[in-house]
């Protein structure tokens, strides 16, 4: 067995990126993800890679756009206010079909908010904080190992779909340490030379763009993108089920909150309460079908988020005709512990 490493979630993202053969990192400091640029500034150059501290989050996102346009695996990271600044570039990457990887270690908002954990950026990540009809593939790790694994996945998926992928963590995931088992993934980039920019040698020049002015061109382009999102929905749904089989109540929670709720559920199980957890891992595509089948099986639902109610809409949409989900929002600014969720779960169970 490979030796386990004991690392922060932020560092796990970096190790995952290195394993996925990320060659360039562009970033700008912001708490609680500074370990990422700091790690990359030390480790990437050693491995022949490139670290650039950009002048801003906007510049970082656009450096990312440039690097991936040349076919190289690259990444940027930030936290909430910085991610807001990247929205234009993210929309451009989606429109230009560029495989950038973007990490958001969500902090409290709106505005400057605080530097603690929050899930207030769910909508921004999944519904497109930028303009136009596009979707990011959004992965929400709940453990440090998952932060590592999903970062590797993120790169592979970005290149598979030529679409930006977001890792959505939070201040808890970024700052906590857990052991991880490193991997040595096989990276297949054989397709890249078919589209990347590397000088028009012995071939016509290539254009990477998102402008479509000719009659019907933007419509066709939007349809093409929609097909990709459809394919993602078919192939990339990820979630964790925990004690759902005999559960009366399914708690739906993602990321750090998902894992914290797990502890609550274990405790409530010991007290004989039939409660289970559905933890979406891919937030887009959202695990609709499993939720639907749980709804059809007559379960009750409670969505728990570290915000005032965002994913709950996706849960409700998934189970629509068959069930209604309760909602419990842990407020940004307050650190969540398993105790916080006991009563809300019991309340929903009793209804």
């Amino acid at each position: 067995m490979t030796k386990r490493m004991f690392v922060k979630g932020n560092e796990a993202v970096c190790w995952g990126a290195l394993a996925a053969q990320c060659k360039c990192y562009f970033g700008y400091p912001i708490t609680p993800q500074n370990d990422i640029p700091e790690f990359m500034s030390k480790e990437l150059p050693k491995r022949g890679g490139v670290f650039v501290q950009a002048e801003s989050e906007i510049a970082a996102a656009n450096m990312l756009l440039g690097a991936v346009a040349s076919g190289v695996r690259a990444m940027t990271s930030s936290s909430s206010p910085g991610i807001s600044l990247k929205q234009e570039a993210i929309s451009y990457m989606a429109g230009s079909e560029l495989p950038g990887v973007i990490v958001n270690m969500n902090r409290g908002g709106p505005g400057l908010g605080d530097i603690g954990p929050s899930q207030g950026d769910y909508f921004q990540a999944t519904k497109g904080g930028g303009h136009g009809d596009y979707r990011l593939l959004v992965l929400a790790p709940g453990t440090v190992q998952e932060a590592y694994d999903l970062t590797i996945e993120a790169f592979n998926l970005a290149f598979k779909y030529r679409n930006p992928v977001m890792i959505l963590g939070d201040a808890i995931l970024g700052q906590m340490k857990e052991p991880i088992t490193p991997k040595d993934p096989v990276i297949d980039d054989s397709e890249v030379h078919n589209w990347c920019l590397d000088g028009a040698q012995n071939r016509p020049s290539r254009i990477i763009k998102s402008l479509y002015l000719e009659d019907g061109a933007l419509a066709a382009h939007n349809l093409k993108l929609a097909k990709k999102y459809e394919q993602m929905a078919q192939e990339e749904v990820r979630f964790e089920e925990f004690l759902t089989n005999d559960a009366e109540l399914i708690v739906v929670a993602y990321g750090s909150i998902g894992r914290i709720v797990k502890t609550t559920i274990r405790k409530l199980r010991q007290a004989g309460h039939k409660v289970g957890l559905l933890r979406p891992i891919s937030l887009f595509p959202f695990p609709k079908e499993i939720l639907l089948s749980l709804a059809k099986a007559g379960k009750k639902f409670l969505t728990i988020e570290h915000n005032l109610g965002q994913m709950v809409e996706d849960v409700q949409l998934a189970i629509c005709k068959f069930a209604t989900t309760d909602f419990y929002g842990h407020l940004p600014g307050n650190l969540p512990t398993p105790n916080d969720f006991e009563q809300p779960i019991l309340n929903s169970l009793e209804k």
Partner: protein, 251 residues
């Protein structure tokens, strides 16, 4: 007795007509860049970073690999490309709204870092594409659709002199301002553009050329009047010349 073509059209320039207005010197600038790429034999290693402005379709005319940068961000995109592919020749092509207004932080930092990229900056003192609004380079007194009474020094400040500002930065290896309004200036422009690429080839630092250019449409002038304005109004405020040239040191 044989005939040869004088200043033959560069092959990397497409044959199709360009969408620019009559007398618009974006066309001239494209041609000069094309000539340089061919002369220095860079065509097949070049990656162009297009920007948002009237030249947004540059990829239809200049047949090199091109990526479209969001408005103002071409220097950041160029940084990404060049760092990822250090053996390629990377250049941006930007207008004055793009480079000197929304993209000011990006151009200054790109130059200051000494990125090994070349920037072609077309200064026509106006936002061409969006219909003639005020640019940071609009001359004092010049009327545009957003300074209908003429740019006012007190309210809107003086036009930014980008070539000088860029020349003052440590990472810059070459910075010049040129015009393409007459044959003398055209020849100097040609040379300046070549130098701005050479500093990249020789890895000396950041290369920058500001090209004073006409926008007859938004200046509401005929192409000939517009061309005269370059000489009479623009050059006196925006002096031509090389503001920094590190090639000498190493040549």
């Amino acid at each position: 007795m044989k005939e040869k073509i004088v200043f033959p059209k560069p092959k990397v320039l497409a044959d199709s007509p360009m969408h620019y207005c009559p007398g618009c010197q974006h066309g001239t600038a494209h041609k000069l860049v094309a000539q340089t790429l061919e002369e220095l034999n860079l065509v097949e290693k070049s990656i162009c970073i297009g920007s948002i402005g009237c030249s947004v379709f540059i990829y239809n005319y200049l047949l090199v690999d091109t990526v479209e940068a969001p408005h103002g961000r071409a220097p950041a995109v160029a940084t990404g490309v060049k760092r990822a592919k250090p053996d390629k020749i990377v250049f941006t092509y930007q207008g004055d709204g793009d480079l000197a207004s929304i993209g000011l932080a990006e151009i200054v930092h790109c130059a200051n870092r000494g990125e090994l990229v070349t920037v072609i900056f077309v200064n026509n003192t106006v936002y061409g594409m969006t219909g003639g609004q005020m640019a940071p380079t609009t001359m004092v007194g010049q009327k545009t659709t957003t300074c209908p009474g003429g740019r006012c020094r007190e309210r809107e400040g003086e036009p930014l002199k980008m070539a000088e500002m860029i020349a003052s930065l440590g990472g810059t290896a070459y910075a010049a301002r040129v015009a393409v309004n007459n044959i003398k200036n055209l020849k100097k422009a040609q040379k300046a553009i070549a130098n701005a690429f050479k500093v990249q080839v020789d890895k000396l630092g950041f290369g920058f050329v500001e090209i004073l250019a006409t926008c007859p449409t938004n200046w509401k002038m005929t192409p000939l009047q517009a061309n005269k304005r370059i000489e009479q109004e623009m050059i006196p405020y925006f002096p031509l010349g090389e503001f920094k040239n590190c090639l000498g040191e190493n040549q």
